[in-house]
């Protein structure tokens, strides 16, 4: 396995990423106030995923990490999606119970 090379990230990069995260937070707030119909969840998740990627890529330095580290981070996300996916399998397949009305 290749040894990771040492990279020095300028402070300005962290400042820009931090500002981008703040902008995304403000966007989340306004997105929650507006009604986009079916797109509500999609927009909220898109902003959240963008923020997570920014943290992973810059703050956690995944862009300069070994493939093993990237794989480890990806495994964490895979497991998260697995968990949410199987939760949704339950919530998405629940049927409304229709009780028989006596006398009908």
């Amino acid at each position: 396995m290749a040894e990771p090379q040492h990279h020095v990230t300028p402070v300005s990069t962290y400042v820009y990423v931090f500002l981008a995260l703040l902008v995304c937070t403000v966007l989340t707030y306004f997105a929650a106030k507006a009604d986009f119909g079916l797109l509500n969840n999609f927009i909220a998740m898109a902003i959240a995923i963008t923020k997570a990627l920014l943290v992973l890529y810059f703050f956690m330095e995944l862009r300069h990490s070994t493939r093993m580290t990237v794989l480890t981070a990806a495994a964490g996300f895979f497991w998260l999606f697995l968990m949410i996916g199987l939760f949704l399998m339950d919530y998405g397949t629940r049927m409304a119970v229709v009780l028989p009305v006596p006398g009908k």
Partner: protein, 557 residues
């Protein structure tokens, strides 16, 4: 007193005539222990801590069994009973069963088995012990102030809205302790990846290392989820923010999903290291390479992965959709496949092996039998039709005790007996240790087998009283718990005795060929005087080794 030294094939007088510097005598005083960075000393610290919690959990178990001796609630009322069984579950699961094998045997053995001087991050390792005890203190505080009555599962909305007991301190204790297991798992993963001795390829690793690795993966991926779940319970209870309470717009089934996403794999956190121990014991005491080594190694990883996909079987009657329940039922049965692979391979290893019935092997054989019963009844309760009937009955209680107690504790004790000479350089009484193994096996079955029948007949769990017709089986169960208690007390006595009076064991009393026995017992602080170069697998016994041991045994008999 006859000791295992009488059968030691490679102990020599020269080895025992003087005391080498080792991790036990390298420094003295309480500071040298409480500030140690040596993985072996940290393992001993963990041994003391988990034994104390095991004793406390055992006292609560004794109170439960004592109350159930008669159908009426003679000893305690329902509220007290609720607290007693909850504290039994919380302490045993989070403070004994989960950390026992990884934190004690894993801490001691992982660096030795991979030929390293220590774990990758010794300070993090020591921190994990302190964090574990800090979590334990929170829980003990809750115990002293009256405990908690929610059951170890903390189901909502009872835990968030209705319970008037110490939910938050107990949950906080579990939350904190979770970090200690994460620290340990992280250390193991990095050590196994980065610090293996020259020549020690993945397929020359002992199976205990494979199972510890798989366990560490589960801990890393699962523990954050229980931490978040517990935090959400605290937020809902403290700030009335609706997450699980339907009145506040939450969903109690969501709690069950989140709780069991960790807590079912937690069963594999308990049982996988136990399987690793049993693989070592079966290989060494049959003097054979473990049958299907690679398959057994991959089965550990398969159990770790599949174990994450089965949690929904705890929700069959909780409002989960029928479609989802059917999928989880099938997935739950799938996890039985790699588990069965292991059991069949251990059995195949015994075939035509040169089997030695020393105490650790008795525990290993006990494990195979009890785990098989626990596993097969697991397949039964994974079946939707059966689970609907036996859910929340003593059938389930018996099933998970066969896995978690009959499996994990049998293997833990087997491992302690096997590596005790390595850890302390001392021997213990063969007679008493065999008696203990027998008492544990008999006591365990007498305690829990009647509970299968009780559950099948419909006795629900978590009640302090029951109909009189169930008394005979409950008396049997309580009698068995008494025998089991004696079986557990005995090792504390003779291990304690051996620390001071036990004969010196020599470096390798079992004549084992794996790497941890390739260094003095007890090992020096740096584990190996020179970095070992590994040229063979951990179970490569030569015909000559087997012949030597058989000759020694024949002379002894």
């Amino acid at each position: 007193m006859d000791t295992i030294a009488a059968r030691a094939p490679v102990t020599t007088t020269a080895e025992t005539s003087f005391e080498r510097p080792n991790y036990l005598n390298s420094s003295y005083g309480w500071k040298s222990w409480l500030l140690t960075l040596d993985h072996k000393r940290i393992a001993i610290l963990y041994l003391i801590s988990v034994t104390a919690f095991f004793a406390l959990g055992g006292i609560f178990a004794g109170l439960v069994r004592l109350e159930l001796l008669t159908p009426e609630g003679d000893l305690m009322g329902p509220d007290t009973y609720n607290r007693v069984f909850t504290m039994h579950g919380v302490i045993m699961v989070f403070f004994f069963l989960i950390p026992a094998i990884p934190a004690v045997l894993g801490n001691f053995l992982v660096p030795l088995m991979v030929g390293a001087k220590d774990l990758a991050m010794p300070r993090l390792n020591l921190a994990s012990w302190y964090v574990y005890n800090l979590g334990g203190l929170f829980t003990l505080w809750a115990v002293v102030h009256g405990g908690v009555d929610t059951g170890w599962t903390f189901y909502t909305p009872f835990s968030t809205t209705y319970s008037n007991t110490y939910v938050i301190p107990t949950a906080l204790g579990i939350f904190i302790t979770g970090f200690s297991t994460i620290f340990t798992a992280l250390n193991f993963i990095i050590t196994i990846h980065r610090m293996r001795a020259p020549g020690l390829s993945w397929f020359r690793l002992p199976l205990f290392i494979w199972s510890t690795y798989a366990t560490s993966l589960i801990i890393m991926l699962g523990t954050p989820v229980i931490a978040i779940t517990i935090l959400l319970v605290g937020i809902e209870r403290g700030f009335h923010i609706g997450i699980f309470d339907p009145r506040l717009g939450g969903d109690p089934v969501l709690f069950e999903h989140m709780f069991w996403f960790y807590s079912h794999p937690a069963v594999y956190i308990m049982i996988l290291p136990a399987m690793g121990v049993v693989s070592e014991l079966v290989g060494h005491f049959a003097r054979k390479k473990v049958f299907g080594y690679r398959i057994v190694a991959f089965a550990s990883v398969a159990i770790a992965v599949l174990g994450f996909l089965v949690w929904g079987h705890h929700l069959f009657v909780a409002g989960e959709s029928v479609y989802s329940a059917t999928v989880f039922s099938v997935l739950s049965m799938l996890v039985a496949v790699p588990s069965a692979v292991k059991v069949f391979n251990w059995t195949a290893t015994l075939y035509e092996g040169s089997i030695s019935y020393q105490t650790p092997m008795l525990y290993a054989l006990g494990f195979i039998g009890l785990f098989t019963i626990g596993g097969l009844t697991g397949v039964m309760v994974a079946t939707l039709g059966i689970d609907v009937h036996v859910h929340d009955t003593y059938f389930v209680v018996a099933h998970f005790h066969y896995v978690m107690v009959g499996g994990t504790i049998m293997a833990y004790l087997g491992g302690l007996h096997y590596w005790w000479p390595k850890m302390t350089g001392r021997l213990y009484s063969t007679f008493l240790s065999r008696l203990s193994a027998l008492l544990v096996f008999v006591g365990f079955n007498l305690t829990f087998f009647p509970q299968f029948i009780l559950g099948y007949l419909g006795m629900p769990r978590r009640y302090w009283s029951y109909p009189p017709e169930f008394q005979v089986l409950n008396v049997l169960s309580t009698a068995g718990a008494t025998v089991l208690g004696v079986g557990y007390l005995l090792p504390i006595c003779y291990f304690g005795w051996s620390l001071r009076y036990g004969a010196k064991s020599g470096n390798n009393p079992w004549g084992a060929v794996s790497l941890e026995w390739d260094t003095p017992s007890p090992p020096p602080t740096e584990n190996f005087y020179t970095t070992p170069v590994v040229t063979h697998g951990p179970y490569e016994y030569l015909a000559e080794d087997v012949h030597n041991r058989l000759t020694q045994e024949a002379n002894f008999e």
